[in-house]
Symmetry: C2
Amino acid sequence: MTASINDVARAAGVSASTVSRALRGRAGVSDEVRDRIASVAAQLGYTASRSASSLASGRTFTIGVVVPYVGRWFFGTVLDAAEQVFSAAGYDVLLYNLGTPETRKRFFAKLPVRKRVDAVLSLLIPDEGESAALRSLGVPLASTVGGARPGFTVVGIDDRAGAESAVRHLVNLGHRRIGTISGSSGPLHWTTPIERRRAYLDVLAEAGIEHDPALEADGDYTLEGGERAMTELLAASRPPTAVFAQSDEMAMGALRALRRHRLKVPDDVSVVGFDDHELADVIGLTTVAQPVAGQGAEAARLLLRQLDEPDAEHPGHVQMPIHLVLRETTAPPRPRGPQ
Amino acid sequence: MTASINDVARAAGVSASTVSRALRGRAGVSDEVRDRIASVAAQLGYTASRSASSLASGRTFTIGVVVPYVGRWFFGTVLDAAEQVFSAAGYDVLLYNLGTPETRKRFFAKLPVRKRVDAVLSLLIPDEGESAALRSLGVPLASTVGGARPGFTVVGIDDRAGAESAVRHLVNLGHRRIGTISGSSGPLHWTTPIERRRAYLDVLAEAGIEHDPALEADGDYTLEGGERAMTELLAASRPPTAVFAQSDEMAMGALRALRRHRLKVPDDVSVVGFDDHELADVIGLTTVAQPVAGQGAEAARLLLRQLDEPDAEHPGHVQMPIHLVLRETTAPPRPRGPQ
DNA sequence: AATATGAACGCAAACGCTTGCGCAACAGCG
DNA sequence: CGCTGTTGCGCAAGCGTTTGCGTTCATATT
C-alpha cells in the first residue's frame, strides 16, 4: 500500500537502519547519503508509521489531553493554545472529552491512554483515585486548573486574590447586599469554587457585612445554571444589589435572568464575572481577567520541557497574573428610599 | 513495566493468541477460559498496546479530526459532539488544530495522520490539493462544512435558504437599506460565504432593492472583524438601517461597534446573525439557527457506519434543518423624516 | 468401529520500525 | 608502519500484538 522504510532503503541503496537514522537526524550518516535518502523519501511520499516506531522506541510523540467540555469557551481556548505548542514541537494530541460521568468513569477505568501517550495534560481536576490512575501511567502530568497536586505540574491563577478583587470592587462601589453565584456542584474535587467562595466570605467579613445564605446560589458553571441561580437570588426576601458570578458564563446567565425580570444592569443590579470570556467585552461585563490561552500554552511548554529533560528540576506550580477589568455592568447601588 | 499480553497468557496458563482472541471477543475460546483470562487481565491491569495492535492489525481505532480553530464556539461545539460519538464507539480522537497558514501547510505536507487513523473528519474546507492529499490516505472522509465534495461525506445545511430567510425577514420588516457583513476572506475554498452572499443579493433583487456595494463589508468570521466591518458600514454616505451578519460572532462584533457609536439596536439599526451561537440568546440576537452539535454527531455517525460497512452505499451529502429565531435585535426601521 | 466435523487452542510469522553491536575503512599519532 | 580512534554503515534482535494454519480432542455421522 503505502511505502515502508524498506522501500525507501532499497530505492536509496542503503539499509533500513540508515534510513531511520537519516530521517530522524541521528548521527552516523554522511551528508551525502542523508540527502539522497531525504529526496527518495520525499519522492515516495514516505512517512514513518507511528505505530511501528512507537512500538519499537517506546516513545509515542503523542500527548493525551483530557477535557471536561471542549465546547465551552474556557476549555476550548486552553486546548487551542496547548495544541499549538504541542504540534509545533512535533507532538500529536489525543483528545478525551469527558463531559458525562459515564465517559469520565470509563476513561479512568480503562485508561485508553496507557501506552499511547508520552504525557498527559488534564483540564479537569481529578479526584484522588483519578490522580492515582494518571500517575500510574508513569508519564509527566500537567493541569491548568485547580491548586497544586502531587505528581502534577499545575499552572493556574490565584483564585482567591481574583475573587477578592471582584467582591472588593462591589464593596467599594457601596454595595452591602452582595450575592454570589458559585459553581461548587458536581463531583469535581475542585478547589476553584472553594477558593472563590472563601474570598467572597472574607471580603464581606472584612467589610463588616453579615453573610446571608439566601444570597448564595449554585450556577453549575453554565449559562443556564447562572440564569437559574440569579432567579433564585431575586426571589430572596431582600434581593441583592450586586452579584459576583464566579464565571463569565454564569454571569451571562445572570444577565439574561435580570433582563427577563426587567431589571436594569447596572442601575438595579451590578454584576461582576470571572474569566474575561471572549464575549465579555461585547456585553460590557465587568470581570476578573485571567490569561486563559496563556495557561494552556504555558502548561504545554512545561510538559514538553519535562519530556526533554526528565531529570532536571521542574516547577510544581506556577501562577499566572490576573486583573480586574472594569466595564459597564457594575455601578454604585441605586440610592434607596428610607433604608 | 506494565503488563504485556504474554504476562497475562502465562498467568492464565494459555497462549498469547488465546488471550488476544478472548479479550477482543473473537470466537474460538471457551467460556471458561475466556472468563479466566478476563479476570487475570483485570487483576494485572492489562491494556493492549495500541501501537502493537494497530501495527499488527492495520486498524488504529483512531479518528483524525482537523479543525481550523478549536477555540471558536462553532468548531468547539461540533468537535465536542463528534468526539462523544467516536469515544462511545471505542475510537480515540487525534486532534489537529490548523489555525495558522503555516500549521495548515505543514499538516497537509507531512500528513501526520498517515497510517495513524482509520478515518478523518474535517471541520475545515480543504482546497483541491488538500482534498487530494486527504483522499490519498485511503480512509473514509467526512466534513461538516461547505458543499458536497467528491470522496467526502458532508453533512451541512442549506446556507442559501438560511441566509434568504434572514434577509427576507429584514425586508419584511420594511428595511430598504440592508447591509451585510460577510466572511469571504482567507484562502479557504469555502462555499458558505459565497452561498450566503448570493442569497443576500437574490433577496434584495427579488424585493426590487438596488444593490449598493458600500453596504457590504468583510468581517472575517471573527468578533473583531465584525466590529470593523460594522464600523465601515456606518461610515457609508447612507448607512444601513439593518445588517445581515453572516455569523453570530460577527453579529456580536457589529453590536459592539453599534454600541460604541451610541446607536440603539434595534431602534436605529437591526441586526440578524447566523448560527444561533450559545450566547445569541443572552444578548437577544435574532439569528438563523443551525444544529451545530447535531452536525458533528451526524458526521461522526456516518463515518463510523462507513467503517463498519465499507461496501454499503453511503450518502454523500446530508442536509440538516435550519430556522429563523426571532429575538430582540430586529425591528421595523425607525420612521424617517421626509424621505 | 471408522471416519468426518467442528471447537478450542498453540505455533510462528508477520506488522514496520528502532537500536545495540559489529565491522570495515580511513585518519591521525608516535 | 603498526596502533588506536573515529566515522559510516549493515545485521539482527527486539517492541507487543494479530492471525493463518496446524494440531488435538471430543462429538456426530455413517
